[in-house]
Symmetry: C2
Subunit: 303 residues, 2 copies
Amino acid sequence: MSQSKYLSGDKVGIEEFLSRFDVFLFDCDGVLWSGDHIFDKVPETLEYLRSLDKQLVFVTNNSTKSRADYKKKFDKLGIPAKVEEVFGSSYSAAVYIARILKLPAPKNKVFVLGETGIEQELDSEGVPYIGGTDPAYRRDIEPEDFDNIANGKLLDPDVGVVLSGLDFHSNYLKTAIAFQYLQRGAVYLATNIDSTLPMAKTLFPGAGSSGAGLAKAIGRDPLSLGKPSQAMMDAVEGKFQFDRSRTCMVGDRMNTDIQFGIDGKLGGTLAVLTGVSKKEEFLEEGVKTVPLAYVDTLGDLLG
Amino acid sequence: MSQSKYLSGDKVGIEEFLSRFDVFLFDCDGVLWSGDHIFDKVPETLEYLRSLDKQLVFVTNNSTKSRADYKKKFDKLGIPAKVEEVFGSSYSAAVYIARILKLPAPKNKVFVLGETGIEQELDSEGVPYIGGTDPAYRRDIEPEDFDNIANGKLLDPDVGVVLSGLDFHSNYLKTAIAFQYLQRGAVYLATNIDSTLPMAKTLFPGAGSSGAGLAKAIGRDPLSLGKPSQAMMDAVEGKFQFDRSRTCMVGDRMNTDIQFGIDGKLGGTLAVLTGVSKKEEFLEEGVKTVPLAYVDTLGDLLG
């Protein structure tokens, strides 16, 4: 097992490392910012990479925001970025449904467990959907609903896909309806399956948690279109046409970001220690997911 | 692997089988009834067993009902039973918390994810609790809640246990609060972890599903006080003081009821085919969970 190289403060090492890549895929939360707090020297570091002609892609599992929402967040924090550089798990799922799954209309409707980011990206790909933020589904289950779910009266016969993402409005009614669609043969997808969401300096339930009730009921996991699923890597590559051997994944989570880069056979991976994973996780003997290199903070790449 | 003996229509076989036991533990849903439909000859069969001096215990994983609620259901369906004969997973959990876990007051408060059945049984054992059916927790999470969960303002410092049961009002707020209690060291229990709930001739999310978001977030399963957990068998035995070798578990689900009896080293198990599991499940070669005997319906025991 090769050791991860520590680059903070190593000017020559950084220069050599950067020279090996043309494309950098960035995780956002935990790398560029934490919540609404931007890390030191992030804009300068991204500008520096651009000045070296590196292509930047922001790959995020957060399904509650669309690419347009993300652009607003970049603007607000003063981070230079273009909408086209953002690749979120909602977009990844919409692209998968529209361009790869391609169920024949009208049986191609999606039942959404999630927030507006998913709806916006499905709209952008012309995919019909129900559920999501529709207030009709944001209510308690009532006794008569059990019969009407069982006999199909509460169901749309054109639903062919259930898409599960982070849902701050998850409830029993939606889970029961989605479960019924799956029992009737709908394709089971997720934007991502992160178990937790780092917020307010602690952990909250992530998309894998808000969707876990459905997975438990049906007894299997969805196909995830977010990191570390290679379905997302394929979608990113399809859009940006990069050379994997000249591409580096930058992230804070070993089991999603770094695994994503390793499984995708990228030329390299770079861990930052501003997020979830601690260096002890990958410096120990026998650990499987080891980044090629690591820095304390992204800004350390400025040397 | 011994074969399961088919008893329906086998008068001599039934007589021999019944003579081997003094106590019968019954699962309810799928054995005595399905929803509000009572199966043929159930009252007569139970009366017959009582006439043979058998002790009957009704062991149910349904946590939404208290023992008193269950008694009402028995009465309504015309099934003779006493409250003392009912042993539900909510009661099992309340007994475990009050008599085995025995956390020192005031740090013994329970945060409940579930319905009134759990609250009633906690009351019956004098266990303090919050959450449950309290309308204050039956709402959407708001932006400020994230901070107030993280900084503890929305938390009760006396909570030492999170108890998860079937919750028709599960939501992100409650899961996030429970997750925070667990991150702070609360004991993690469940009334039961059945993945599905058979209703209206199809499957709905069960307690294991409505609580799966929390298990996924914290990355481990709760200690279950329902079937097939032996914590429940110990509690039943503690109350009824039976001889396990002279006790038979009767149920419709291989992976909960029959497993419960086998793991508990009972003298025997009897499967009925009126519920979830089909006989193909245990008649196949190489299957691990095989009941000692099976009948098509409970009423077949009348011969």
